[in-house]
């Protein structure tokens, strides 16, 4: 049985000072229902998650106490991917025909401050200043650049593309393109990553209406199909965030295994993908994720970036809405924003940021602490 996406909704990312996180989630659900031409009462199940915005199932207070099955999902930055995977499985099993996946968040300003005990670590690790996601991405990027001869030029070009794409995306938080020099001269935050190479925690909501594909045409003339949903955690030896030590032999990242599983489920390969969203909490991770997801060889990224291959008109259009860099990262919503954007592109509704030649296959990838990846493949 196939799984269809028949409605997509977004509550604009950035700052919504007059709305709670939960209200932003409800706003995204209403938008997705309107897009599908359905009502909340039609929803048979819901999966949702948020880090700082409250329990997702409290959304029924906003949307209606209809008695539906509503399960809260919390899986770090991969929350959206995990919620979508749960919904995919619910439809695949035949138990339900139509339901909703939602993510939302509202973070305070500044870097995240995770608590060691919630991650199975002792307090000293946080007290002595070793438990920062920004630090980890800098440490991984530093080693990756050393191993694969990548220079700062590549880091700058990822950010340049992100903010350019953000300037073409009406729903993006950061709508101003930044020049190469502005990025190159911005403050060094965590060597080798500068200010404009990091995304910021933010606010927003995203929702999808998921349906049994056999029944999708009842609701929607042009459904999209969720061909694969895979979530994988870290293996022994993979280099991960919040790790006081690292094995001598480095194993593949969970992204590699999630990506391989998703391609196998969908029965296609990286060469078949027309538009992709790769987790870009900073410009270094986008570079590493290009190769970990199978879209290029390790070390090939700098050349691809210089050629513009990852731009909207390139052969590997990555993060067409500006990604996390231009949209910020409301953790619960971020992975579903990626799916929203890929659906916009496959429907041909991208406006100024539309990928040319009618893309048919889209790909999304999230990565989160403490080493979890979620990959989805969506087709026309």
């Amino acid at each position: 049985m196939d799984v269809a996406i028949i409605g997509i909704g977004l509550h604009r990312f950035g700052r919504s000072p007059d709305m709670s996180g939960l209200q932003q989630g409800a706003s995204a659900v209403r938008a997705a229902l309107a897009d599908a031409g359905l009502s909340w009462a039609d929803m048979q199940f819901a999966y949702g998650g948020s880090q700082d915005g409250g329990n997702a199932d409290a959304l029924v207070n906003e949307l209606g106490l209809t008695g539906l099955q509503f399960t809260n999902i919390w899986n770090g930055c991969a929350t959206g991917g995990s919620s979508l995977h749960a919904a995919y499985s619910a439809i695949k099993s035949g138990e339900y025909d139509v339901g909703v996946v939602v993510g939302f968040d509202k973070h305070p300003r500044g870097a995240f401050n995770p608590q060691p005990k919630e991650w199975g670590l002792d307090q000293w690790y946080g007290e002595t200043g070793l438990m920062l996601t920004t630090q980890f991405f800098a440490l991984k990027t530093q080693r990756y650049m050393h191993d694969h001869d990548i220079t700062e030029d590549a880091l700058i070009r990822v950010s340049e593309k992100a903010f350019k794409n953000g300037s073409l995306t009406p729903t993006a938080w950061r709508q101003q393109a930044l020049s190469y020099e502005q990025i190159a001269n911005s403050a060094m935050i965590s060597h080798p990553l500068r200010k404009y190479m990091f995304c910021s925690p933010a606010e927003g909501g995203a929702a999808l209406i998921i349906c049994n594909a056999d029944k999708a045409h009842q609701y929607c003339s042009k459904p999209l199909f969720l061909k694969a949903a895979a979530v994988r955690t870290r293996h022994y030896g993979s280099f991960e965030v919040f790790a006081p030590s690292q094995a001598m032999e480095v194993a593949d990242a969970p992204t590699v295994t999630a990506s391989e599983a998703a391609f196998e489920q969908a029965g296609i390969g990286p060469e078949d993908v027309d538009v992709m969203q790769l987790q870009d909490t900073d410009s270094g991770t986008e570079i590493m994720h290009m190769a970990e997801n199978g879209f290029c060889e390790h070390g090939e990224q700098e050349k691809l970036l210089r050629e513009g291959a990852t731009g909207i008109n390139g052969r590997l259009p990555i993060n067409t809405d500006g990604g996390c860099l231009a949209n910020g990262e409301p953790v619960g919503a971020s992975g579903l924003r990626q799916v929203y954007e890929v659906c916009v592109q496959l429907r041909g509704e991208g406006g100024a940021r539309q990928v040319p030649n009618q893309p048919k296959v889209g790909y999304t990838h999230v990565y989160g602490a403490p080493g979890i990846s979620g990959v989805n493949i969506i087709t026309k």
Partner: protein, 143 residues
């Protein structure tokens, strides 16, 4: 009288003339981890031995923390007195790469592959005058 106390028990041998980091090694698969833990993360065996990891290692990767972290960071610095610090993974002869603060805090002082020396240093002073001690690495001067 004020005392010097490790920030957490079991991370390093101290006081000692030549302090060592402590880790655990699996009796089944011989994989090593830091800090020491009773179970093996590699094979899941429940038999590990605490071992000394050494006091010198090779810098595997590094960065510099330029802004003062929010809590749970707990030093005795203020935003005004905060001093950027290095962070790196150091490859120890005991067979594991350990994440640590680095005393060097400028890019021109740090290079992947350089030899690093373990130091046990005061991290913060408590209200009662006691000093909490933590582990850190600094580059070994070429002679």
């Amino acid at each position: 009288m004020s005392q010097q106390i490790p920030i957490h028990d079991g991370l390093f041998t101290w006081p000692a003339t030549k302090p060592q980091l402590l880790g655990s090694q699996c009796r089944q698969c011989a994989e090593t981890t830091f800090p020491a833990q009773p179970d093996c993360r590699s094979c899941g065996a429940r038999e590990t031995n605490v071992i000394e990891l050494g006091d010198r290692g090779i810098l595997w990767t590094w960065t510099i923390q330029t802004f003062m972290p929010k809590e749970p960071y707990h030093s005795d610095e203020t935003p005004e007195t905060f001093r950027p610090y290095g962070v790196g993974y150091v490859e120890m002869p005991g067979g594991v790469r350990v994440e640590a603060r680095l005393q060097a805090n400028s890019p021109d002082q740090l290079k992947i592959g350089m030899l690093m020396q373990l130091d046990i240093i005061p991290f913060r002073t408590e209200a009662n005058g006691n000093q909490k001690m933590t582990f850190s690495f600094s580059p070994v001067e070429e002679s």
